[in-house]
């Protein structure tokens, strides 16, 4: 199994969710996140005092998939999240030892 993690622009979430559903993903986890990549943050001004806000709001999506689906899923995800502008985010995958469905105790691919 693989854990695919994507950090994307918040307003792309609906697109990405729809694309993942169309691909056949049954469940995902979404977290509000913040961070920066090469674009860095923005500047705010309060009575002339400028504050650099480094951390930009992002959405972090996590999906567990079987190994053979991982590459395709990454493609789908990247395509749905892409705007072509700076700050689109990152997607990565890591291997997962095991997964358990809490309600039934099923393990491995059955738990997905």
């Amino acid at each position: 199994m693989k854990l695919i993690t994507a950090v994307i622009k918040p307003y792309r979430l609906d697109e990405v969710k729809a694309a993942l559903q169309a691909f056949g993903v049954h469940g995902l986890t979404v977290t509000e996140a913040s961070g920066y990549g090469r674009q860095r943050g923005h500047t705010e001004v309060y009575r002339g005092a400028e504050y650099t806000v480094d951390l930009v709001p992002k959405i972090r999506i996590e999906v567990l998939v079987e190994d053979e689906d991982a590459d395709d899923l990454i493609d789908v995800l990247v395509k749905a999240a892409r705007t072509g502008k700076i700050g689109d985010g990152k997607v990565w995958s890591i291997p997962v030892d095991t997964a358990v469905r809490v309600r039934t105790g099923e393990r491995g691919p059955d738990a997905l």
Binding site: E44, V45, Y46, R47, G48, A49, Y51
Partner: protein, 469 residues
């Protein structure tokens, strides 16, 4: 009622007093929104404390020192009205009962020290602040109010009545006085930890807007009520207050857009307050066009002045100096240029054929009040610091002053925190115990009593939990 009594004037002044009263909670919101979330309550409470302490002192001796018959050369009132004795229901000042005048002036005495608190946001010990308010109004505000506001046909206060310095509603007595005291205080207390390094942006601009809106609303009582009658001067004061404030709001925004590239919400609120401050001394002596000019100048100059603290390195947290001292001085000085001689006062400014005489008088008023306020405020702050310590401990300041000084916090947004608060008491690890013990350590109180209270709190939380089940 005696001859000369006016029910209309009395009703107007009493309502004005209520309007001025609402400025202090308004100020609390204005300031409270500008500090960081961890110290909001303290900022609100500093204003409210003034409502408590000054109200009491006013009855005891404040009214007498400010408005009692002159004791010496226009410098201070005598003690004839201690405890407000001898002021009957039928005593009049002008066409209104003395009591109506006294309560109207009380509201001025309350908001002036509250204004100062913005200069020392996030770092003052609450008890020390209370002591400072009591000393400051006694030694600084009551005498200065006497100098400026006590009218007795040339035998009244030495600045206003004897020397013709015009301050219709308190540009010198309230705003320069508070602004300069704020400077003295922030010099004595020192900079906030992280000043110029950490971001200290306002935690709630909506709260700032609410506060500035309430200030604007209440200010009609502040300025128009100062006519002490429901007459043409009061009406003109309302007009001048509105147009000067609007102009200052625009002035600040334009300055900001040119200098920093954005029209900010905080700039709009700050510009409005700067305009209100600047028109305060002048609203009874200028025309609406003069008021617009004063507002525009005040908006732009105050917007520039707030950056002085970064250049000169004093930490006037919420720009009491930049807005109130500078704004008050602008308004007071511009009377010397824009007074028409035909509104409430006969003195004419330079632009209306009056020469430089009035400008000189205004400059003297500004300089005298600023110097007196700075020296006395600095000495009082030093004394309070020696006596009880003016500043909170470093760890309290970093953690936020609300829990240590008030045993409360303004906000709890954390769903995780709420869940923990429910879960921990049943494990014998009440979070209430932890935080209260922390605050006891921070404020240097003996931990025993606070821990007891905390235990009770934890038990009651547990009991509620049981009841809920």
């Amino acid at each position: 009622m005696p001859d000369g009594f006016s029910a209309g004037d009395t009703a107007f002044v009493l309502i004005s007093a209520a309007l001025v009263m609402v400025m202090t909670p308004g100020l609390a919101f204005f300031y409270g929104g500008m500090v960081r979330a961890k110290s909001t309550l303290n900022m609100l409470a500093m204003s409210f404390l003034s409502l408590g302490i000054v109200s009491v002192l006013w009855v005891l001796y404040g009214y007498s020192l400010s408005f009692g018959p002159d004791a010496f050369a226009g410098l201070i009132g005598n003690l004839d009205f201690l405890g407000m004795r001898g002021i009957g229901l039928n005593e009049l000042t002008g066409s209104i009962p003395v009591t109506a005048f006294a309560v109207f002036q009380l509201m001025f005495a309350i908001i002036t020290p509250a204004l100062i608190s913005g200069a020392i946001a996030d770092r003052a010990k609450f008890s020390a602040w209370g002591l400072f308010i009591a000393l400051w109004v006694t030694v600084v505000y009551f005498p200065v109010a006497h100098w400026v506001f006590f009218v007795d046909n040339g035998q009244g206060g030495w600045l206003g009545d004897r020397n013709g310095v015009i301050d219709f509603a308190g540009g010198t007595a309230v705003h320069i006085n508070a602004g300069v005291a704020g400077l003295a205080l922030c010099l004595v207390l020192g900079k906030r930890i992280g000043f110029k390094k950490d971001p200290m942006r306002p935690h709630s601009l909506p709260l700032v807007m609410l506060g500035s809106g309430l200030l604007w609303f209440g200010w009609f009582g502040f300025n128009a009520g100062s006519a002490l009658a429901a007459n043409g001067v009061a009406a003109m004061a309302v007009v001048n207050t509105q147009v000067a404030t609007g102009a200052a709001l625009v002035g600040w925004l334009v300055f900001e857009k040119l200098k920093h590239g954005a029209f900010t919400t905080l700039g709009a609120a700050s510009g409005a307050v700067a305009g209100l401050v600047a028109i305060t001394p002048a609203c009874g002596s200028v025309s609406p066009l003069g008021a617009v000019a004063i507002g525009l100048i005040a908006g732009a100059v105050c917007a520039a002045a707030v950056s002085l603290k970064y250049r000169w390195g004093f930490d006037d947290s919420l720009d009491v100096v930049g807005v109130h001292a500078v704004g008050g001085a602008i308004g007071s000085l511009l009377i010397g240029l824009f007074a028409t001689g035909g509104v409430g006062q006969t003195a004419k400014g330079l632009f209306y054929g009056g020469g430089l005489g009035q400008l000189g008088k205004q400059a003297m008023g500004v300089a005298v009040v600023a110097a007196y306020s700075f020296v006395l405020s600095w000495l009082l702050a030093k004394a309070v610091d020696k006596l009880v310590g003016f500043r909170v401990a470093e760890e309290v300041e970093v953690a936020g002053i609300d829990q240590a000084e008030h045993a409360e916090s303004a906000y709890d947004f954390s769903a995780v925190g709420a869940g923990l608060a429910r879960a921990l008491p049943s494990l014998g690890l009440g979070s209430a115990t932890g935080s209260a013990a922390g605050s006891a350590a921070g404020s240097g109180k003996p931990a025993g009593k606070t821990a007891d209270t905390a235990e009770k709190t934890a038990q009651s939380v547990e009991k509620t939990e049981v009841d809920a089940r």
